[in-house]
């Protein structure tokens, strides 16, 4: 069966399971029979209780980890190691603190063998796009949390990933900054329409940004339900949260998610 790669889904997880085995031989199942499909250019948000297996899912897509069973496919092909088409934005600061802003942004192109001059040119371009041209020579510790996140976005986007994975990228920011970053992300994404998987525990964030919201069960994670979000684009994140349909989506999905959060919470308190 030969598939046209341009028609293939950007990301496919087919019956994926992921077990962690501790050195003493105890095993913990983080994902079980996990199925997910992300179409090219689609923005998918994943919500689920803390510790259910969201980060584990993303690690399987990057190729940093391998599934214990099942298959992960990118653009119709199997995942073999780290795929150059993938970009990843981390929850915590993953910038290199000993490099100034522009050297951080240049890292990707330089790792990938571009010339220093070209890397510098594109890095300046991306810093202008995220509004940090004046801070090229600053070190990460001299920037605010929001500015550091912008640097992270520029650092990731400069590689022009076709698949963009984000693991609770804005959860450490204050509410106002977060809204600004949402606008920024949607603007950057609209320019090149990468396929996005955006992991969050903030349901409103998920509904505001995504085309589809995946709700996961308490660990081991499987997909509990999928909600298409039919809100018009371009969206203004600051205003969308007051629209009745937005509120309706949030209410429906929360009904679904609440059971899982409660299950997860009950387990955690029993374990404690």
């Amino acid at each position: 069966m030969q598939q046209n790669p341009s028609q293939a889904p950007a990301i496919e997880l087919i019956n994926v399971s992921r077990r962690f085995v501790s050195p003493t031989g105890k095993s913990l199942t983080a994902l079980r029979d996990f199925n997910m499909t992300v179409e090219p250019g689609e923005f998918v948000a994943v919500v689920g209780p803390t510790g259910c297996g969201k980060s584990t899912t993303l690690n399987l897509v990057t190729g940093l980890a391998k599934p214990s069973a099942g298959e992960v496919r990118l653009m119709g092909g199997p995942v073999n190691g780290i795929d150059p088409r993938v970009g990843f934005v981390f929850q915590t600061d993953a910038l290199f603190p000993w490099r100034n802003v522009i050297d951080n942004v240049m890292a990707g192109p330089l790792f990938r063998g571009k010339s220093a001059a070209e890397a510098q040119r594109t890095a300046k371009d991306w810093l202008a796009r995220v509004g940090l041209s004046r801070f090229e020579q600053h070190y990460p510790h001299q920037l605010s949390g929001g500015m550091r996140k912008r640097v992270s976005l520029a650092q990731t986007f400069i590689n022009e990933p076709e698949i963009l994975l984000m693991d609770e990228p804005f959860s450490a920011l204050d509410v106002q900054t977060r809204t600004v970053m949402h606008e920024e992300l949607l603007r950057l994404w609209a320019e090149r329409k990468a396929s996005v998987v955006f992991v969050t525990h903030d349901l409103e964030e998920a509904v505001a940004l995504a085309d589809k919201v995946y709700v996961l069960t308490a660990g081991p994670a499987t997909v509990k339900s999928v909600y298409p979000i039919d809100l018009p684009r371009p969206r203004v994140v600051a205003d969308i949260r007051y629209e009745p349909r937005f509120i309706e989506y949030c209410r429906t999905i929360w009904e679904d998610l609440r059971d899982e959060v409660e299950t997860s919470y009950r387990r955690a308190s029993q374990a404690a």
Binding site: V86, F88, T92, D93, F96, W98, A107, T156
Partner: protein, 292 residues
């Protein structure tokens, strides 16, 4: 609730004071504090030396064993102007420095390379960890007689001792530094496209650097210990040999003078190291002085 000021020396400004005035006042407070610290450091030094001198003069302590500051200075002066029993002071100092420096440089380079190598390779480190623990549990100075037996009284045996003392300290820190490197940062570099070697060069080494530097600070001292202990056990020249001779002739002033020389050299090395480190670590947050 009472409103007690945290620091009674901090001035309280009336509303409308300009930033420049507040900064100037704060700067003055900082300067005054620095001078006060320096003043007390000098007072304590002079006090201790004064009491020592007086006690020795008045025979409260036996000058034969404890010498006196003036006696030590006289001996240093004599060494500088007339040379020691074993030739010029500078030559002896250089012999010890040469041993310590070669041991320090080779020991730290080897320590960094092996530390990073094993830190990056779980399998090798699992294999070698037991041997390293075993060798590490040998008090290094007991190796001095062996090295001298094998390599003779010259440079090589002292360098070997200094090397082995430096190596383990630097190795342990470099290894730990590699292990402490942030996993997210490594993952980030790899996803951005870094090869294994690029990860080592751009993430692992810089993040291990602060650990490595911490060890370099102490390990120059260890290199000197290695050189001097080696000289105690058997040598023709060097500061350790001077101390050894001073001990043989019951020359207390000579022993203290040698100690002071070593102290000065080690402190200079420490200052140089701090300067280099500050240069390399310009990315780190500066400590801010609280204005209040």
């Amino acid at each position: 609730m009472t409103d007690t000021p945290l620091d009674s020396t901090a001035p309280i400004f009336r509303a409308g004071t300009s930033d420049a005035e507040i900064e100037a006042a704060a700067f003055k407070v900082i300067q005054r504090r620095k001078r006060a610290v320096f003043f007390w450091q000098i007072v304590i030094l002079v006090g201790i030396l004064g009491i020592w001198e007086l006690a020795s003069n008045q025979l409260w302590i036996d000058p034969f064993f404890y010498s006196s500051p003036s006696g030590i200075i006289a001996r240093l002066y004599e060494w500088i102007t007339e040379g020691t029993a074993e030739g010029s002071l500078w030559f002896n100092l250089w012999v010890t420095m040469e041993e310590a420096l070669i041991g320090f440089v080779t020991g730290s380079v080897a320590g960094v390379l092996v530390g990073i190598g094993l830190g990056r390779n779980q399998f090798l480190s699992d294999i070698f960890s037991v041997y390293i623990k075993a060798i590490n549990s040998i008090p290094r100075v007991v190796l001095a007689p062996i090295f001298i037996m094998i390599m003779g009284l010259g440079l090589a045996s002292k360098v070997a001792l200094a090397f082995i003392m430096v190596f383990f300290v630097v190795f342990a820190n470099a290894f730990q530094g590699v292990r402490e490197a942030d996993r997210n940062m490594i993952a980030n570099a790899r996803i951005l496209g870094a090869s294994n070697w690029q990860v080592t060069r751009t993430v692992i080494v810089p993040s291990a650097m602060s650990w490595i530097f911490a060890s370099l600070h102490v390990s120059f001292g260890f290199a000197i210990i290695g050189a001097i202990v080696g000289e105690f056990v058997g040598a023709r020249f060097g500061i350790g040999q001077l101390i050894s001779i001073a001990k043989g002739t019951f020359d207390a002033a000579g022993m203290y003078a040698a100690i002071i020389l070593v102290m000065i050299v080690t402190l200079i090395a420490e200052v140089i190291m701090t300067l280099i480190e500050n240069r390399l670590a310009k990315w780190r947050p500066q400590q801010q002085n609280d204005m209040q």
